[in-house]
Point group: C2
Chain length 111, copies 2
DNA sequence: CCATTATTTAGCCATGTCGTTAATTAACGA
DNA sequence: TCGTTAATTAACGACATGGCTAAATAATGG
């Protein structure tokens, strides 16, 4: 499993539950209990999702008495957006025409 | 494993080799062979990465004689950027102050 | 000290990933 | 038809994910 920062971030986001957790945390910090209830998921399951998010630097957790409030850390999302942004010129256009591929072949032939 | 479109896209992107393949395809279509050489990876390995990318709708493949040229399909990246964009207000600010959490506790106490 | 609440850890199981090599299928071209 | 090249599939191994329940760890508050 790749462990570079961007890969960790993307892998963490590649699960609907974890994205929903981040969306929830955008509205304010929350405890594990508060998160597990709406997602109809056991506390251990949520705890593990949180560990993944923490590993990706997408949340931080602190100790507040017996609670472990989670807070959103959205900075890694900037890198994700920056990466996709590189492809912005391609978002709206169809895949390149067949011509390009044929030119490519022709170039190899002459080489 | 989640199979919704956004999760598929993010999972496909969560591997440096696959991101590098997309970056390469931005410069034009390429065959499996052309992709496997620079990545010092066996053709089967690349073939499977391509399958993942295809499953996420990030590339399309056609048959051109004995070659299977891959072309970039960047549309799904738009959705990724759109999702992260929702968090743009949080990108540059520190995690919410502790105050918010304390208010949160106080609210529960009075409720 | 004991009961309660919050959270994590430990097992379990099924399934997916990611690389390899070896074998198979598809198409070309003399 | 035969040999070559391109690409996929099959099979393997090591390991991660994602859910569960049950048990262990913290901290609170009588």
């Amino acid at each position: 499993m790749p462990s570079d920062p961007l890969s960790s971030t993307l892998a963490a986001l590649a699960h609907p539950t974890r994205r929903a957790i981040l969306a929830r945390l955008a509205a304010g910090a929350a405890t594990v209990k508060e998160l597990s209830t709406p997602f109809r998921m056991s506390a251990p399951a949520v705890s593990r999702h949180l560990r993944v998010l923490e590993g990706a630097g997408l949340i931080t957790r602190s100790r507040e008495g017996q609670w472990r409030p989670c807070r959103l850390e959205a900075a890694p999302l900037r890198e994700v957006c920056a990466w996709t942004d590189e492809f912005r010129p391609f978002w709206n256009r169809d895949s390149e025409p067949l011509d390009t591929w044929l030119q490519h072949l022709r170039k190899k032939a002459t080489a």
